[in-house]
């Protein structure tokens, strides 16, 4: 398991948080308990299994919801 952090453009509505959370949780290889969408700092943090998926897949899913992805970090 690795820790991934994705920095998003500013989130403005609390329901965005729910949407992004739902999208990230839908991936196989993401530890669902670990998903944390931070409203004020506009960040998503989660643990992922890098053998099952790449962080870029999650980034694509988030940007296809209409949210800007600024950068990501996996370690």
């Amino acid at each position: 398991m690795q820790k991934a952090t994705i920095q998003l453009g500013p989130l403005t509505c609390p329901s965005c948080v729910k949407k992004i959370e739902g999208a990230v949780k839908s991936f196989d290889g993401v530890d669902k308990e670990s998903v944390n969408v931070m409203f004020n700092s506009s960040k998503v943090k989660f643990d992922m299994d890098s053998e099952k998926l790449q962080v870029i897949d999650v980034e694509r899913a988030i940007s296809s919801l209409g949210y800007e992805v600024i950068k990501s970090q996996v370690k």
Binding site: P14, N36, M38
Partner: protein, 620 residues
């Protein structure tokens, strides 16, 4: 997502503007020229353009099984459109979009304080490459052990040690203190601080999130999004709330056959202000703290701290400076100069804080050679100077060495102790020559700060210390504390705090964060006087940067204001929903547009209310 979707979401601002203009055109043409055709057509176009981004967002939400506000609004607007109520459908979409825009603007203001902090993070570094040259790289590419060059005006990219060079560094980002600190070989430097002059080469000890600055940023970022019990409840509630509103509207429509009523309920049910109110107060309060050198670890901390009625202080380093100085002396010899030189020479051999105070006081810089130095643990120091035996230490050491204390000396000792001094006796060849009283100074301004804390509603101010009771009592009476206890070991302090808690008090403990960590952890609120030290940052709930005691009243006042602000926002949000629901059933002025207007205004009101916290200043 198709290109069109993305395009529409990107152009939300433009869409809002067009939709607004169309609505104005519609009403002008109707009122000015009584042209019903243009009126209807422009409103229809405004509705369709306006609903498109909302509908796309609603679709995305439903795909991840979330019934979002967008879903409710899309259904309501579509229904209004289908029953030919174009006026409502156009105005509701416009208000929703415009509200969204204003929310974005105001929210970024409330977050600005914390953003300022995170933007101070270093981004690049000059790293020595294999060929010996320095090359600019991203800070992510720096590892522990790398050699880095920092030039004048640049940010120190990592926590490290100076290898060569010297300069002055502004450490305000870590300590809050903007006076530049001089650095040369072997000095420690911190990420995020700024080299104001000079050039230094440093060895990276800690990088990225492991640096002190990285820890502070992470802590503040987590704090602004941390959730209290109440917020988690609201979250759970709002998760089920929107689907319930949807069902309720369906039920109302089914029984009353009144579509207008059903869609009005959909709009009124949007839970905006309730969900956003508390996080907005939270981020503004924590942001204000970050600007003023107070780190608050989240909304639970804000809540608990605002209710504190008892504050327990550690003495040394908290209420006092922690830097003891000679306050009183008695000299029993006419060769004072020579004797003081002896004493300074012997004391110079020790690094005990009291010895240091004595040497500083005598101002002697040229020392006699000292021989046969023997340090007596818990007693003092014995040595030979100039062929004479010098014994320096406390009363116990004198008795142990069979040095006679005459009545005059004993009287002076009693007086010194009463004044809150720690005692140092000095004898030369078994005769008492000098009695020295050493005291720790009370921090400047502490007395006023304690008065402010009382005005903020703290009932008990208590001091616990490892020092003797005489010293403790003196400080206590000078500061007007409720209680003060000496001879306390760290575990005694812990027991004391547990006792207070069992009596129903809500306790904050203020300490230096190193030897008091059990007490910091036990108290409801642990407050560390941290000059940016790791232990202080890790173990406590509140960190006063740069060990600045005067920030404590601000911290307490701020948490009270923030807790209040949250409550106000909850009351505003719940009140608005109740009024709206009441009016929809019992009055005839309520419709979808007014509902949306009130809803958006209430969101803006809670954001603006939260923003007031950014300007909070203690005012007593």
């Amino acid at each position: 997502m198709t290109g069109l979707d993305r395009f529409i979401l990107k152009k939300k601002k433009l869409i809002t503007l067009i939709s607004g203009l169309l609505i104005v055109t519609a009403f002008v043409s109707e009122m000015g020229f009584e042209n019903a055709q243009i009126f209807i057509w422009t409103l229809m176009i405004a509705s369709i353009i306006g609903i498109s981004p909302i509908a796309i967002q609603a679709y995305h939400a439903l795909r991840v099984k979330v019934v979002s506000i967008d879903v409710l609004v899309t259904i309501a607007v579509t229904a209004a459109f289908l029953i030919n109520n174009y006026e409502e459908s156009a105005i509701v979409t416009f208000l929703f979009l415009f509200g969204d825009y204003l929310e974005m603007r105001t929210l970024s203001k409330t977050r600005s304080a914390i953003k300022e902090l995170t933007e101070m993070a270093p981004e690049s570094a000059l790293k020595q490459m294999e060929n010996g040259d320095f090359k600019e790289v991203g800070v992510d590419e720096v590892g522990v052990g790398d050699l880095l060059l920092v030039k004048t005006g640049a940010k120190v990219p990592v926590d490290g040690t100076v290898l060569t060079g010297e300069g002055h560094i502004n450490e305000a980002s870590i300590t809050g203190e903007s006076l530049p600190v001089s650095k040369n070989k072997d000095s420690k430097v911190f990420a995020g601080t700024i080299l104001e002059n000079g050039t230094i080469q440093i060895l990276a000890d800690r990088v990225g999130e492991d640096t002190t600055f990285g820890r502070i940023i992470e802590l503040v970022e987590e704090a602004q999004d941390s959730k209290s019990e109440a917020e988690r409840f609201i979250d759970k509630f709002s998760k089920n709330y929107t689907p319930i509103v949807l069902i309720l509207a369906g039920v109302v429509w089914f029984f009353s056959k009144d579509i207008e009523l059903a869609i009005t309920i959909l709009v009124l049910g949007c839970p905006g202000a309730l969900v956003i109110g508390v996080p907005v107060s939270n981020v503004a309060g924590i942001g204000n703290g970050a600007r003023h050198g107070v780190l608050l670890k989240g909304s639970e901390v804000i809540h608990d701290f605002s209710k504190v009625d008892t504050i327990v202080f550690d003495k040394t380093g908290t209420l006092t400076i922690g830097n003891p100085k000679v306050a009183d002396t008695e000299i029993y010899t006419d060769q004072a100069d020579k004797i003081l030189k002896y004493i300074a020479s012997v004391e110079n051999e020790s690094d005990h804080p009291l010895s240091k105070a004595v040497v500083d006081h005598t101002r002697v810089t040229k020392f006699y050679p000292v021989e046969e130095t023997h340090v007596v643990k818990g007693g003092g120091i014995i040595a030979k100077v100039d062929g004479q035996r010098v014994v320096i230490g406390n009363v116990a050491l004198m008795e142990q060495e069979n040095i006679h204390l005459n009545d005059k000396v004993r009287k002076d000792i009693a007086r010194f102790e009463q004044n809150g001094n720690s005692l140092v006796l000095a004898s030369v060849d078994s005769e008492i020559m000098v009695l020295i009283g050493i005291r720790d100074q009370i921090r400047h301004g502490v007395k006023d700060d304690l008065i402010k804390l009382r005005k903020l509603g703290v009932k008990n101010l208590i001091m616990l210390s490892g020092d003797n009771q005489g010293t403790v009592d003196l400080v206590a009476s000078e500061l007007g504390l409720n209680e003060a206890h000496g001879h306390m070991l760290p575990e005694d302090k812990l027991t004391f705090i547990k006792d207070m808690q069992s009596k129903g008090h809500i306790v904050a403990f203020v300490g230096d964060g190193v030897n008091d960590s059990p007490s910091l952890a036990q108290a409801e609120i642990g407050i560390a006087m941290g000059g940016g030290t790791d232990v202080a940052i890790e173990t406590s709930d509140v960190v006063l940067m740069n060990s600045d005691f005067s920030r404590l009243p601000h911290a307490l006042g701020l948490t009270k204001a923030t807790a209040n602000n949250m409550l106000q926002n909850i009351i505003i949000a719940v009140g608005v929903v109740l009024v709206l629901l009441f009016s929809v059933f019992f009055s005839d002025w309520m419709n979808m547009s007014i509902g949306m207007l009130v809803h958006e205004v209430s969101i803006l009101v809670v954001i603006l209310n939260g923003m007031r916290l950014l300007r909070y200043k203690i005012n007593l």
